[in-house]
């Protein structure tokens, strides 16, 4: 045993002496394999981002041109009613979507985790909407919420004549019409992630909790959820990126209407750039979107991931 060990060390030492360890060539193959991805990240993402920011200070129309106008595009952006409405809508949608997706996703996962019958069937049913594109979801819910053919029409058909549920044509609550569709599509995936997290919890924790006489709900809230922190982080990142990107659902379900009541920032960018042929204005709006993501996401990511490494 001792001989073998000393032999091994000599071999290692000899190799180390023969090949001077050059940092650049360590894991050479994996680095070569990574090159395309690194190039994509630097050239496409970083390059594209910088290009967009630079051109947001120009008065580019249909074609990009370097004709500086300073902060004009940003001044116009923040004095445009549609943009302000978009930001408010995104905030409403974001807060409710994040809360409800997490709560509903976790509750569904916890229920499935109670070893119910037909778990597979339920899981499939809940996950199924995620397989649809947002366009399909938007159209389906546009019809379900249509006052004549959808829920309102059916309930009135049953005899409840005064029943009113018409979110897509009411500027006050149209965002909740979108929220319902968004939740219907998105919670299934979060449920699956949560379920995987719950399955990763050691059975012994449950046994210990039971021995100590702790109730089921209390066990979930005080023991299991804190243990699932990484799972929640993943879920939050997924949900937030979905919120910022919110575009296709709006286009398919309400087209921003009634009026401008359900406009969102991504749609503002698309319509000014291609409908209004004003690239500069669209770039300014997308830069503001990036800025808000950076301001919220980077400190949070540093806290979440940077802190763990040091700890």
């Amino acid at each position: 045993m001792a001989i073998a060990e000393s032999g091994e060390t000599t071999v290692t030492r000899r190799t180390a002496a023969a090949k001077k360890p050059i940092r650049l060539f360590r894991n050479l193959w994996s680095k070569i394999a990574l090159t395309p991805m690194i190039l994509t990240a630097v050239v496409v993402f970083m390059g594209g981002t910088i290009w967009t920011i630079v051109y947001s200070f120009t008065n580019s129309g249909l074609l990009p041109r370097l004709n500086w106008v300073g902060l004009d595009q940003y001044e116009r952006l923040w004095s445009t009613a549609k943009w302000i409405v978009s930001i408010k809508n995104l905030a409403i949608y974001g807060v409710f979507s994040l809360t409800f997706t997490l709560v509903i996703g976790f509750v569904l996962a916890a229920l499935l985790d109670r070893k119910i019958r037909f778990e597979d069937t339920f899981r499939t049913i809940f996950l199924y909407p995620f397989a649809l594109s947002f366009i399909v979801t938007g159209l389906v819910w546009q019809w379900i919420l249509n006052p004549e053919f959808g829920i309102q029409g059916i309930v009135r058909g049953w005899g409840w004549e005064s029943f009113t549920f018409n979110p897509l044509n009411d500027p006050e609550i149209v965002m909740f019409g979108l929220l319902i569709a968004g939740l219907w599509q998105g919670t299934g995936l979060i449920m699956c992630i949560m379920l995987a997290g719950l399955r990763g919890i050691d059975e012994d924790i449950w046994k210990a909790a039971r021995v100590d006489g702790i109730g089921v709900v209390k066990t979930y809230v005080q023991i299991i959820i804190p243990m699932m922190r990484p799972v929640f982080v993943t879920a939050v990142v997924l949900i937030t990126s979905g919120i910022i990107k919110l575009y296709d659902l709006v286009v398919a379900q309400t087209a921003g209407g009634p009026g401008i009541a359900s406009e969102v920032p991504a749609k503002y960018v698309m319509t000014t750039m291609f409908g209004g042929q004003n690239l500069g204005q669209g770039f300014a709006a997308s830069t503001m979107m990036l800025l808000s993501v950076v301001i919220i996401l980077i400190p949070w990511a540093l806290l979440e991931f940077g802190g763990r490494k040091r700890g």
Binding site: G61, L62, L63, A81, K82, Q142, N146, P147, E148, N166, L168, N169, P171, T254, A255, G256, G257, P258, G259, I260, A261, T271, T272, M273, F274, G275, G276, Q277, N278, Q281
Partner: protein, 411 residues
């Protein structure tokens, strides 16, 4: 006849010049609905049968707002199609200024477009610095109101002959359980209807001062305020019908649940598909029966610069072909639009189309808003009008001032 012969001869000459060089012409457009596809098929047929070139169809579904970015990115990206469709107006202005579009001036001169294109404003829209860059193919007009005869009958009323009469009848229609005005939920419909009311109720002079001269004081005038007030009242007429798409709003008029709709001449196709007869089932009012005038929007074809002389010759040949009398007749008969030349007769014409043709022949025409206002300001106006339409709490002063600011900053 003499002109036709001359034109044919010119076409033949162009054909002869490029006889040996058959090329494939990729044409991009967004005509994908039933009637539209049939119409564009006429173009393809003409190119395939009357020239030795081949038409490669590059249809993009989803309408102009989806298709235009795709076309523009292909052109900027250096992989342009041989030809593409845009609306009459300023949408291609920057592409022309950047030198990306083929100069068609020699074709226009050889074919005498200056004499045949009616109204001339369509050719003006294609002309930048005296050079012609596009081939107009059809005319669509916004200035129509469509009325359901049965809806008025059910309410015990005569079909009105003007907007003023119509507004007066609205309470009686309500009593009969009929929604007076059908309006879809999309911004372009509401903004478009406002444009029609602007011309019909305040006259074309005010409209020209605002849209052509960019005169903000015209927007701040009491006449314009009256139009905004009328538009605000029209909002009440439209209450009770919640639809998004224009054709669903038209369907409400066809089914007599709504009495009228302000919509362009493309709506007539819906009535025809539903088997309705003009005069019996529905009535049309040009310019809301107040100011009989047609706006002349529609479509034009542009030909990107390719640098290949063979393709260039084929492009020019195609441009000449699109405006030839036979192709104009077959295309516009299928599309339901009006031809861009006054010297041809459509095969099937009903009273509404005839009214349009008469207005066109008498010169009662004005340019489409898109021809005078750049897309940027146009989309701001769309947003403003749809906001106003959907928010009764918005004050007229506020709308008027914001409209004036858009016009002040417009180019």
């Amino acid at each position: 006849m003499k002109l036709t012969t001359k034109l044919l001869a010119a076409t033949a000459m162009v054909s002869a010049a490029s006889a040996a060089n058959a090329v494939e012409l990729e044409v991009m457009h967004w005509w994908t609905s039933g009637g539209e596809a049939a119409a564009v098929g006429k173009f393809a047929e003409a190119v395939n049968e009357r020239t030795e070139h081949t038409w490669i169809d590059g249809a993009i579904a989803g309408g102009g707002d989806t298709a235009r970015p795709v076309m523009v990115s292909r052109i900027i990206g250096g992989d342009p199609p041989a030809a593409f469709q845009f609306n009459h107006g300023r949408q291609a202005e920057e592409l022309i200024e950047a030198g990306l579009m083929l100069d068609l001036t020699d074709v226009a001169e050889a074919e005498g477009w200056e004499d045949i294109v009616n109204p001339p404003s369509l050719l003006d829209a294609c002309t930048v610095d005296g050079r012609v860059y596009c081939a107009p193919v059809n005319i669509h007009s916004w200035q129509w109101m469509w009325l359901s005869n049965a809806a008025f009958e059910n309410a015990g009323l005569e079909v009105p002959s003007s907007w003023t009469e119509f507004v007066a009848m609205a309470p009686a229609l309500r009593e009969a359980g009929i929604v007076p005005l059908a309006m879809g939920g999309q911004s372009w419909q509401q903004s478009g209807a406002f444009g029609v009311m602007n011309v019909a109720l305040a006259g074309e002079d005010l409209w020209f001062r605002i849209n052509r001269d960019k005169d903000a004081s015209a927007v701040r005038s009491p006449e314009f305020r009256a139009v905004l007030e009328a538009f605000g009242e029209a909002r009440n007429l439209a209450e009770g019908l919640d639809v998004l798409d224009w054709n669903l709003a038209t369907a409400a008029v066809i089914e007599d649940r709504a009495a009228a709709q302000i919509m362009g001449d493309w709506a007539q196709g819906e009535f025809q598909v539903a088997g309705e007869v003009e005069g019996e089932d529905y009535t049309c009012l040009a310019g809301l029966g107040e100011t009989a005038i047609l706006s002349t929007g529609g479509d034009a074809f542009y030909f990107p610069v390719t640098g290949d002389p063979e393709i260039e010759a084929a492009q020019k040949e195609m441009a000449a072909l699109l405006l030839s009398p036979e192709v104009q007749v077959s295309f516009n008969s299928a599309k339901g639009s009006l031809p861009i030349r006054g010297d041809v007769d459509l095969t099937t014409v009903n009273a509404c189309t005839q009214t349009g043709l008469d207005l066109l022949a008498n010169g009662n025409v004005m340019p489409d808003g898109n021809q005078l206002i750049a897309p940027d300001a146009q989309s701001q106006i769309n947003d403003l009008m749809t906001e106003f339409w959907n928010d009764p709490a918005m004050s007229i002063d506020d709308v008027q001032e914001r409209y004036a600011q858009i016009i002040e900053n417009a180019s």
